[in-house]
């Protein structure tokens, strides 16, 4: 049996580097101003999958749902060693919450077909929900191992995997039958650098959107189809799937398929404690300590 691993990846706005001009005056976020990055834990998930491939052979498929520019992250997956990259993208997926996202992802996994393992990051830094992994596992009807620290043993004959998982103040080692979905915590596996040869090859990899953007009026659709075929034959196609391609039901996608809605967003209002400015002098600090001692905070 040849091992097939699917890795769920997400391109996220880099929320760790929010600077002044990202926040609008009304307190909302201008997403367009944030750089888009490969969600860090998803990158570690890909690394774990690639390590299993190094050891057992087989194939790794990177799967994302996102806007057309998520192709940038998929190319990075190819540079690292993924064999196949799939972009699930359609305007009708917009504003999906975790439930609608996992619905679309599980339909895409069905289209991919047979698999042994699915990896994903524990959570994405733009929402920190950690919900898409378990929800996708539930929809696929397979077990899950969340908070994975380490994959210890993959037995392709018995079709089982052993993984170490973080629990409160410790860890546990679970053995699960395949297929199983594992979500990977931070620091599980340092992602490998891009492979230079792969980079040279796959920087030319293109999604359907990118190919379409190169077509102008002077070309006809036949020319476009031939171009797609050629890119595919060269193994440089980032497969691009829409709602119909994954046979998803529109009512469970995007905003319509999302039970949670944002009711309102507010600027953060600080509680405004009684504030004393303390000079950074021995005298000022002495006064503060006296205050605190009188309030029985110290001693």
């Amino acid at each position: 049996m040849s091992l097939h691993t699917i890795v769920l990846v997400k391109q996220v706005p880099d929320t760790s580097n929010i600077s002044g001009d990202v926040m609008r005056p009304d307190g909302t976020v201008n997403r367009a101003r944030l750089p888009a990055i490969f969600n860090p834990e998803d990158q570690e998930a890909l690394e774990l999958a690639l390590r299993l491939k190094d050891k057992h052979g087989g194939k790794v498929t990177a799967l994302t749902m996102g806007p057309p520019n998520a192709a940038n992250m998929l190319r990075e997956c190819l540079y690292m060693g993924a064999d196949r990259a799939i972009l699930v993208s359609d305007r009708r997926f917009a504003a999906a919450d975790t439930l609608a996202t996992s619905y679309a992802l599980h339909k895409a996994v069905h289209r991919i077909g047979d698999y042994d393992l699915i990896f994903g990051g524990r959570q994405a830094i733009d929402g920190d929900t950690a919900q898409v992994g378990p929800q996708t596992a539930e929809k696929l009807g397979i077990p899950q191992i969340t908070y994975t620290l380490e994959v210890q043993e993959l037995n392709l004959k018995k079709k089982t995997v052993r993984a170490k998982r973080a629990i409160k103040n410790g860890y546990e080692i679970l053995e699960s039958p395949l297929p199983v979905l594992l979500t990977v915590t931070k620091d599980a596996a340092e992602p490998r650098p891009f492979d230079v040869r792969r980079l040279c090859t796959y920087k030319r990899a293109q999604s359907r959107f990118e190919i379409e953007a190169t077509v102008d009026d002077s070309h006809d659709l036949v020319w476009m189809d031939e171009l797609m075929e050629k890119i595919k034959a060269d193994d440089l196609l980032i497969e691009t799937w829409n709602i119909e391609d994954i046979e998803a039901d529109v009512q469970w996608c995007g905003l319509a398929g999302s039970p949670t809605k944002v009711h309102k967003v507010e600027n953060v209002i600080l509680s405004g404690a009684e504030f004393k400015k303390v000079p950074a002098t021995t005298e000022g600090l002495n006064d503060m300590i006296t205050d605190l001692m009188q309030d029985h905070i110290f001693g």
């Binding site: 830094i125 920190d128 077990p143 546990e172 053995e175 809605k261 967003v265 405004g272 950074a280 600090l285």
Partner: protein
Amino acid sequence: MNTKLKDLVWVFAEQTDGVLADVSLELLHKARTLAEKMNSQVSAVLLGDNVEGLSKVLFAHGADNVYLLDNSELKDFRSMPYANLITNLVEEKRPRVVLFGATHIGRDIAPRVASHTRSGLTADCTELKIKTLTIRKVEHEDLLLQIRPAFGGNIIATIISPDVEIQMATIREGVMEMGEPDSSRRGTITPVKVELDPVETAVKIIEKHQEASSVNLKGAPIIVAGGYGADTPEKFQLVKDLARVLGAEVAGSRAAVDAGLIDSERQVGQTGTTVRPKLYIAIGISGAIQHRAGMQESQKIIAINSDAEAPIFQVAHYGIHGDLTDVIPKLIAAYKSQLH
């Protein structure tokens, strides 16, 4: 149990080795205030092996009813059996609100339950309210307002699930206050039949290693925390020195944890521990909302920061604008001089 009350508000009662998680008890107190608005009782959902005795603790903290799923297969937590059994019960009884602790266990199963029941689920809420809202001329009763920082903590979002019946949320330990238990409170135990398919119990626990936590941030009266401004081991040592002199616990912001200056067990904030000490000293912590969410209920807050505009000053009671390498030694000296 008052039989006239509806059964709309549930709390997942998380237990490990027969000990209930604090967060579950905290949630029961919150659930009481939500349930009163909905004219509902509070039910706890308890899974385990030989755990019936825990019911009286759940009653004391606010449960009126305990759904008891007791079976040897449920001795240790495993995703599938736990999630599937809760799913079945939710589908049968159709509560409107189900709350889980945002723990390694709650965050593992809540998404599975929500996925199967197509419920709305919001992670890591910092506040919950019940309200009736009119949206596009349609009145929605008993909506759960799920309030949480969003987008890297730069905004506070209120999430609702108006079009579905079942509304779920996870909440971190320490965010809701645990009220006093009332041991005179009584309730009913509703045993639930546990039937599991071998497929559901196929994942086996090979080994489990768990230590009692050596860190008790939640119980510490004084906490000294360092952040990005204390970004070298030398600077962070000053934070630790101050803590030692004050007899305080050392903590850090996410930036300090990410920089490897302090163990993640000691992280204060939305993704760490929520604390309410008598005194919280924030050193070199700018005060992003995720951090403030974990400490702003402290009785007194001292902020030491070289950036006069840092938001931490807006929640602090005492603000010291200065370089920590200058301020901390002076503060230590001043404290020592007053002790003598």
